[in-house]
Amino acid sequence: MRQEPMDLVVDDLVIELGGRRIVDQVSLEVEPGRRLALLGPNGSGKSTLLRGLYRLHRPASGAVRVGGDDLWRLGARAAAQRIAVVAQESAAEHDLTAFQVAMLGRVPHQRGFGADSPADLAAAEAALDRVGALDLADRPFAVLSGGEKQRVLLARAITQDCPVLVLDEPTNHLDVTFQLELMQIVADLGLTTVAALHDLNLAAEYCDAVAVLQDGRLVATGDPGTVLTGDLIAEVFAVRADRIPHPATGRPHFALSPLKTPTTERNP
């Protein structure tokens, strides 16, 4: 049932909202099964770019191609069979149980009056088990904690069984244990993945590539080790980043501190 990973290509994408250009001529390519972290300060256009990947915003120009097909030529349903999403939408004022939320992942694959097939139910159950949320299955989604909700939403995306996975700040509001656990689950899925992240260290640790956005433009893309230099981080995020090898994994790690600027140094 598991689908082969597909490549994801963002080609000269422009997205305008209310007359303002939020994403400005961004081009990216994610090879099948690779993970790309989208980095950038608040308001840099990360979420808007991601929304362009699941047909919430129609591009003003440019294109998004998944497995070689244009997202907007595919149609809503076919696109949802290729790209699964864990979005930031938090207005969860509904009465569905955690299991029913996970089952929503089957919506793009089902048709007609029919009841859920045993395979559909098994997929949702296995996904909940995979994210460690099977014991939450019968609880109302609305009463779950932030971390529990995120587990269930990830389970829904896994249940959707798509070759491409899009995550919008998936580790927000999560405790450190589950931040690492979630990133490991995502890595183990082996899907073509695009994730907007705030944590540079998670990006360097779990992603094959990073793309850095500033004011809607792509300022750098490539291997985390080469792209994320102290200078780039200082320029984009306005913080000082000292790069050190992670004592345990040897991957690049960033120790962050405020950028010393003349205005912050008051009279002695």
Binding site: A76, A80, H94, L104, V107, F113, L121, P140, Q160
Partner: protein
């Protein structure tokens, strides 16, 4: 605990829906038969059953052996049954439209009349009552239907901006236009002769008293069409109630789907209101009760809401005919007077908090 040993998480809830549907179906048949036996012409429950069965099935002996009088047959088949069934169709239609409205604007306060449908129907009907059918050029039902659809179209166009119908704009447009139309109705009511006021109130509060078989056709057809549509799109409704963004990511074309739902709700509510007036409360509360009973999955909730709405309104009509006999109470008074306490009691029970009443 291993996967194989754990029972399917939905198993408990899944079995509740068919059971609830069966119970409601049995209750519905029961209310139809009792309604047939209730009124000034004496008909026993057994005779009522015989008459209904005799018209539905061919060659039943009691239809031709003289045991039933023509008067009894006429009372049950020509008067009581159509009005009971109209109450059933109206209740089912309003409950279905209410459930769809609640999903499409994601608001628990949503109900079928949110689109200004009842206010529009009110203007149409009151115009016919006060100015006369000749001046308006339509029958009372025709004018009410035209008013209902006109209001719904206006609300839809007012709420639309850049091709998108946002739920909040829809709610506010509906409330604002509804107030405007109610003001027109009030003006027409206050300036007309006193003898018309009773007819106006009866329409505005809702009534199925004057039902005939032919009146049933349009709302019944609208109910059938919208029910099939809603059942086919139940999964999309589930996705939509989680959020527009989620629904989009799950392959639902949210804008188009919302427009289709609005058309379905407007037609169904308009068809019901045109023949039975503005019966309140059913469309708001029956969907909530159904959710408490069988959960929020529309594939299970909608059939239960449809059957529940039908049974509730048929029972309410029976009460409207009997509690103050020989005077009839408008059915809308019964639905609110009986339904509100029942709903509040249900809402405060522990079970409801498990079904989403915790927000």
């Amino acid at each position: 605990m291993t996967l194989t040993r754990k029972p399917r998480p939905t198993a408990g809830r899944a079995s509740a829906a068919p059971l609830a549907a069966l119970a409601l179906l049995a209750a519905g048949i029961g209310v139809v038969i009792v309604s047939g036996a209730t009124g000034t012409v004496d008909v026993t429950v057994a005779e009522s059953f015989k008459i209904v069965a005799g018209h539905l099935l061919p060659n039943l002996p009691w239809m031709s052996d003289g045991s039933l009088t023509p008067l009894q047959d006429q009372a049950v088949w020509q008067f009581r049954l159509p009005r009971t069934l109209l109450a059933g169709v109206a209740g089912a239609g309003l409950a279905l439209a209410g459930a769809l409205m609640q999903a499409l604007v994601r608001n628990p306060l949503a109900e079928p009349y949110l689109l200004g449908v009842s206010a529009g129907a009110g203007v149409g009907a009151v115009a016919v009552i006060t100015l006369g059918a000749a001046a308006v050029g339509l029958t009372l039902s025709g004018a009410a239907f035209a008013g209902a659809l006109g209001a719904a179209v206006a609300v839809y166009l007012l709420a639309r901006q850049g091709g998108v119908v946002a739920p909040t704009r829809l709610i506010l447009s509906g409330v604002a236009l509804g107030s405007l139309l109610s003001a027109v109705t009030s003006y027409l009511t206050i300036t007309t002769e006193a003898q018309n006021v009773f007819s106006i109130l009866f329409f505005l509060l809702g009534s199925v008293a004057a039902a005939t078989w032919t009146q049933l056709a349009v709302p019944a057809a609208a109910l059938a069409i919208v029910l099939v549509f809603a059942r086919l799109r139940s999964r999309s409704l589930n996705a939509l109630q989680v959020g527009d963004e989620t629904a989009t990511a799950l392959g639902v074309d949210v804008n188009r789907f919302r427009s289709q739902l609005l058309v379905a709700c407007a037609l169904l509510t308009g068809a019901v209101v045109a023949v039975s007036g503005g019966i309140g409360f059913v469309g708001l509360v029956v969907p909530h009760i159904s959710r408490i009973a069988v959960g929020a999955d529309h594939r299970r909730m909608l059939p239960v809401a449809v059957l529940g709405g039908a049974v509730f309104l048929m029972a309410a009509d029976l009460a409207a005919r009997t509690v103050a006999a020989p005077t009839e109470i408008p059915i809308g008074i019964v639905t609110a007077a009986v339904g509100a306490p029942f709903f509040l009691w249900l809402m405060r029970r522990g079970r409801a908090s498990g079904a989403g009443m915790h927000r």
